[in-house]
C-alpha cells in the first residue's frame, strides 16, 4: 500500500493520480500507527482494517475518474472471547472511518438490547429508530448483539428491532455503520436464526485470544499509562502469574490482566503503608515489586478464581 503505484484511468482518459499523495493527505497512516502502537496483537483485525482503508482510498480515487461503484457495505461483526478488545477496536473504528471519509461525524453510539427493544407493543420501533437517528453519521455499536433475538420467547419484541435495523442497514448505508459484537458461539446461533443479518454484514472479524507474551506487553502498557512499572522481579512474577491464570476458568484476556494489575496496585499501596517509617522516593511509588504479584491467591494451593 505504501509503494509508489499510480492509478491509471480506464479508457481514453490518460490522467494519473498519485495514490501515495492521496494516502498521505488522508492521515490514515497516523491512525493505523496509533492502532499498532496501542493495540497489541490482534493481527487479523489490523489486517482487515488495513484492507478496508485501502479499499476506501482506492474508491475515492476511482470517483475522481467517475468510475462509479456502489458504496461498499462496512457493517461489521466482531466475535471473540471476553477481553479481546472488541469494544476498544469499535471505538477506534469511528475515528478511522471518519478519516477515510466514509462517515461524516465518526462518533460511536454504544447500545445493548435494553436501548433498542421496548417493553410493550409499539414501543420498540420508535425506540430503535431514535437510537439509529442518534448514530447516523457515525458508528452504531451493538454490544452483546445475540441478546436481541430470544428464540425461546416468540412474543419477544427483539425481532421487530432486528427488522428495523436490517432495513436501515440496507437503505441508509451512507449514513451509518453498524457493528455487532458478541461471543463467537452465541453470535453463530444468532446468525443462524437471522440469515438476513448475516448476509448484510460484509465483515466478520474474529478476535483471537492473546498469547502470554502479548498479555505481558498489554500489562506493561496499562501500567505505563497509569505511571507505574514492574521491577525486574515483578515482571518475572507477573509472567508466572499469567501462565497460571490463563489455565484457570473464566479467564478473560486483557480484562483479567487489568483486574490483576488493579489488585497488585492495591497490595503495593498496602506494602508501602506497612513500613510507614521509611522515606519514599518517586521510584518506590511507581514500582510494582514481585511480592505485590506473588501475594495473589493463584500462587497458593487453594484455587480461588482470583
Amino acid at each position: 500500500m505504501g509503494d509508489n503505484r499510480k492509478v491509471q484511468a480506464a479508457g481514453a482518459d490518460e490522467a494519473q493520480v498519485d495514490l501515495e499523495a492521496e494516502f498521505k493527505a488522508s492521515n490514515i497512516q497516523e491512525v493505523l500507527d496509533k492502532l499498532d502502537r496501542e493495540l497489541i496483537g490482534l493481527m487479523p483485525v489490523k489486517t482487515r482494517i488495513r484492507e478496508i482503508a485501502a479499499l476506501l482510498l482506492v474508491d475515492r480515487l476511482r470517483r475522481k475518474f467517475e468510475l462509479s461503484s456502489e458504496t461498499p457495505t462496512l457493517h461489521m461483526c466482531f466475535t471473540g472471547n471476553p477481553g479481546t478488545g472488541k469494544t476498544t477496536v469499535a471505538m477506534r473504528m469511528g475515528e478511522i472511518l471518519k478519516r477515510l471519509g466514509y462517515v461524516r461525524e465518526g462518533h460511536l453510539v454504544t447500545v445493548t438490547r435494553d436501548d433498542l427493544v421496548g417493553q410493550y407493543i409499539g414501543h420498540t420501533a420508535p425506540k430503535t429508530k431514535e437510537v439509529i437517528k442518534k448514530a447516523m453519521g457515525g458508528v452504531l455499536f451493538i454490544d452483546e448483539a445475540y441478546y436481541l433475538y430470544k428464540p425461546e420467547n416468540e412474543r419477544d419484541y427483539g425481532a421487530e428491532s432486528i427488522e428495523i435495523l436490517l432495513q436501515i442497514m440496507e437503505n441508509n448505508r451512507d449514513d451509518l455503520v453498524v457493528i455487532l459484537a458478541g461471543y463467537k458461539d452465541k453470535m453463530e446461533k444468532f446468525f443462524q436464526s437471522n440469515p438476513g443479518m448475516r448476509s448484510r454484514i460484509a465483515h466478520h472479524i474474529d478476535f483471537p485470544d492473546y498469547t502470554a507474551g502479548e498479555l505481558l506487553h498489554i500489562a506493561k502498557l496499562m501500567l505505563e499509562r497509569q505511571n507505574y512499572r514492574f521491577s525486574a522481579e515483578g515482571e518475572a512474577a507477573f509472567t508466572e502469574y499469567l501462565k497460571l491464570r490463563m489455565q484457570q476458568p473464566h479467564f478473560s484476556n486483557a480484562r483479567s490482566v487489568r483486574n490483576a494489575l488493579d489488585r497488585a496496585r492495591l497490595r503495593q499501596a498496602n506494602r508501602l503503608f506497612a513500613d510507614a517509617g521509611r522515606k519514599l522516593g518517586k521510584a518506590d511509588l511507581m514500582t510494582i515489586e514481585a511480592e505485590d504479584v506473588l501475594a495473589s491467591r493463584i500462587f497458593g494451593a487453594g484455587s480461588g478464581a482470583v
Binding site: 461525524e105 439509529i132 437517528k133 442518534k134 447516523m136 453519521g137 457515525g138 449514513d175
Partner: protein
C-alpha cells in the same frame, strides 16, 4: 392589488425564497445541530399566522450529531402528509432563550388558496379585520 402572487404563505425563515432543496435543508439542520438545538418536524393544514402550535410529527429529536436522521423524518412526514404544510423547528434550550431559534417550511400543498380579509363594521363605524384562510372552509383533512 395582489401582493403575493401565487399565494405562497410566508412564515418562518426562507419563505420568500423558492422551496429549499434537500441539500439546503441538510445544511440548515447542520447549523442547528452545531448549536445544540433540538430539531423537530411539525405539520398542519391550518396555516393561519396565529396558529402557532402545529402538530408534532414523532418526537423532538435530541442528541443528534448528523442531519441524516432528521431528513429521514422529514421524508417520512412528507410521505404521510404530502399535501400539508410541514416545517422544521429548532428549539434552543439555552437559559434565557428557551424558545424556537429556527423555523422554516419544507413542504407545501400543491395549491395554496391563500387568505382573505373580512371586515366587520362595529360601533362608531369602526372596522374590525379578520384574516381568514380559504382552505379552512373545508373540514380538517380535506383542506388541501
Amino acid at each position: 392589488m395582489m401582493t403575493n402572487t401565487g399565494n405562497r404563505i410566508t412564515q418562518g425563515q426562507f419563505s420568500f425564497l423558492p422551496d429549499l432543496t434537500d441539500a439546503q435543508i441538510t445544511a440548515q439542520i447542520k447549523y442547528a445541530l452545531k448549536n445544540n438545538w433540538a430539531v423537530s418536524v411539525e405539520y398542519t393544514d391550518d396555516p393561519h399566522p396565529r396558529n402557532t402550535y402545529w402538530e408534532l410529527f414523532g418526537m423532538p429529536m435530541f442528541d443528534l450529531k448528523d442531519p441524516a436522521g432528521i431528513l429521514m423524518e422529514i421524508n417520512n412526514c412528507r410521505k404521510t402528509f404530502p399535501n400539508h404544510y410541514i416545517r422544521v423547528m429548532a428549539f434552543n434550550s439555552h437559559r434565557g432563550v428557551e424558545s424556537p431559534s429556527m423555523s422554516f417550511i419544507v413542504n407545501r400543498p400543491k395549491v395554496e388558496p391563500g387568505f382573505g380579509v373580512s371586515r366587520q363594521e362595529v360601533d362608531g363605524r369602526n372596522i374590525r379585520y379578520t384574516v381568514h384562510s380559504y382552505a379552512t372552509d373545508k373540514p380538517e383533512g380535506e383542506r388541501y
